[in-house]
């Protein structure tokens, strides 16, 4: 295993220290329990937004803390949900009097830990709403299973809810917008290589030199099918098809198209994917009015990409466009 780290044990805290050193104007870090909050937390008189999850998906979530997006983020160990005490302390630190929205990616561990944290916050008299993001069309959904994973739509939900909270909407309203993003957003990913979890020291799965995993999550968990490497255009089709048909998106819809890198994929390749994804969207009569291209929800150094599509309306577009000032996403200020 080759990584620019000192030790797997200290990795998360050292990265937090680095973030704090680099972005002290935007964020503050708290250790033991570990969490990151915006520099001016608690921002009074607005809904506070808290997310979190295992580390290894950077810039998600810590890189999205700041004005116009998250108020706080709790990093767990690599690929491991953070614990309720982190979320509880972070929730208290960011609460500005209008309640706390928890944005939770749909993984059993995350859901259970956030549930416990929500109970603790509520016991302190803090109003809490929880929204679970489950946008990954690669996973067959059913009420009898853990359901779909939360992936790319999380980034969009954090940005859009951040805009809504900054605009002064109520907890219930911001939570409803979050649910809407989840309802109208779909994602699917592919891996070209595995990633290596630092404390494991070897790749999570073995992928022969000429094979790819379709329907990969963001934890190096195997996907649904393995196949021979295909040209980028073909891969893009295989990602876009299940997304477009799932809701289904229909001709005339206005959408946001997000092409995400998994951590080890050069931007050059992401643009090749974006080119084809936008063409497919267009061929379906969709109007791509907003987009995002880059590595925003990653899986350590995994090579691969995921595509997320979100149906936009005036409200979602407005809060997507709203100013944001975080380490990883910034515009309008």
């Amino acid at each position: 295993m080759k990584k620019l780290i000192n030790s797997p044990e200290n990795l998360v805290v050292e990265a937090m220290e680095g973030m704090e050193a680099a972005h002290g104007d935007l964020i503050k870090a708290h250790y033991n329990p570990n969490f990151i909050v915006r520099a001016d937390a608690p921002a009074k008189g607005k809904v506070a937004i808290l997310s979190g999850g295992g580390s290894g998906h950077e810039p998600l979530h810590g890189g999205f803390v700041g004005a116009g997006m998250l108020d706080g983020a709790c990093p767990g160990a690599v690929f491991t949900s953070p614990t309720p005490d982190q979320m509880y302390e972070a929730g208290k630190a960011i609460h500005g009097g209008k309640g706390v929205l928890l944005i939770i990616k749909n993984y059993t561990g995350d859901v259970m830990n956030f549930e416990l944290a929500a109970d603790l916050l509520k016991a302190d008299g803090i109003e809490v709403e929880s929204v679970v993001i489950d946008d990954d069309v690669a996973v067959k959904d059913s009420t009898w299973t853990a359901g779909r994973r939360g992936v790319g739509a999380t980034v969009l939900a954090e940005k859009i809810c951040g805009g809504a909270a900054a605009a002064g909407l109520s907890l219930k309203e911001v939570a409803d917008i979050c649910r809407k993003v989840n309802a109208e957003g779909r994602s699917m990913g592919v891996a070209l290589t595995s990633c290596t979890v630092p404390h494991v020291g070897k790749p999570t799965f073995d992928l022969p030199e000429d094979e790819i995993e379709m329907g990969i999550g963001i934890h190096g968990e195997p996907g649904r099918t393995r196949m021979k490497l295909q040209p980028a255009d073909k891969i893009t089709e295989m990602l876009m098809d299940p997304i477009i048909t799932d809701i289904p998106y229909k001709s005339g819809d206005e959408v946001l198209l997000f092409v995400n890198g998994m951590g080890g994929t050069p931007l050059l390749e992401l643009y090749v994917i974006y080119r084809k994804a936008a063409a497919i969207a267009k061929a379906h009569g969709l109007k791509v009015s907003r987009n995002l291209v880059g590595s925003y929800i990653t899986s350590l150094e995994m090579a691969g990409t995921s595509i997320t599509m979100l149906k936009l309306d005036d409200t979602l577009r407005k809060f997507w466009d709203a100013p944001v000032k975080t380490p990883a996403l910034r515009w309008g200020v």
Partner: protein, 210 residues
């Protein structure tokens, strides 16, 4: 008839810390196959933190020990197994408050409350390919065999059942937890949480036998 003293419980928790440290790569390997390669690290980290609390357990009742362990697991394990094992110990604490030793019946009450907590938290049923596939038959076996009050005999039976039950998760298709994302591809692999649960029972038997 044998009882489990406070200090036996502490020994058990310390033994678990050693076992999960030793089996860290093994459990993580199981999780790599159908999950995200952290179960061993999660368990080792959590129980190391519990064992580090041993000095505070000195002279305390089992309810306190379980509650402290529960809070420690909740705040150090993370993932799915943290809230599950944490809730297990939290509810077991409710049945052992003030007690400085557990009879076979007391332990049965703890297990019953703990397993109920697992069900409440995880909402998994038997056959979903989770740790419940171990805990549900273990509880039944323990209760059936502890009726005559022999704690060691009941744990012996429970431990046997645990091993079989863990192995029985291999052919299953996961319905809950991270392995469920794999669908059919989850079949053919041992569930990591089932295995860590089986190790937990086995360790308790080891301590009870001492």
């Amino acid at each position: 008839m044998k009882e489990l003293s406070s200090s036996a419980i502490v020994s058990w928790l310390q033994l678990l810390a050693r076992i999960y440290e030793e089996k860290k790569d093994y459990l993580t390997g199981l999780d790599a196959a159908i999950g995200d390669a952290d179960h061993g690290a999660n368990m080792a980290r959590g129980f190391a933190a519990v064992a580090a609390k041993a000095p505070q357990f000195e002279g305390k009742d089992i309810g306190f020990i379980f509650k402290t362990s529960a809070m420690t697991l909740l705040s150090t394990v993370g993932g799915a197994s943290g809230p599950l094992y944490g809730s297990f110990f939290l509810q077991a604490a409710g049945k052992s408050n003030g007690k400085t030793s557990l009879t076979a019946a007391d332990l049965g009450a703890c297990l019953e409350a703990g397993v109920a907590a697992l069900t409440a938290r995880g909402k998994a049923v038997f056959g979903d390919k989770t740790m419940m596939d171990v805990w549900l038959p273990v509880l039944d076996a323990y209760k059936a065999s502890a009726a005559d009050g022999d704690l060691v005999a009941a744990l012996t039976k429970a431990s046997e059942v645990a091993k079989t039950a863990a192995a029985a998760t291999i052919p299953l298709v996961a319905k809950k937890g991270r392995a469920s994302y794999l669908g059919e591809r989850s079949a053919g692999h041992l569930d990591p949480g089932a295995e860590s649960s089986s190790l937990l029972i086995e360790a308790l038997l080891t301590i009870a036998r001492q």
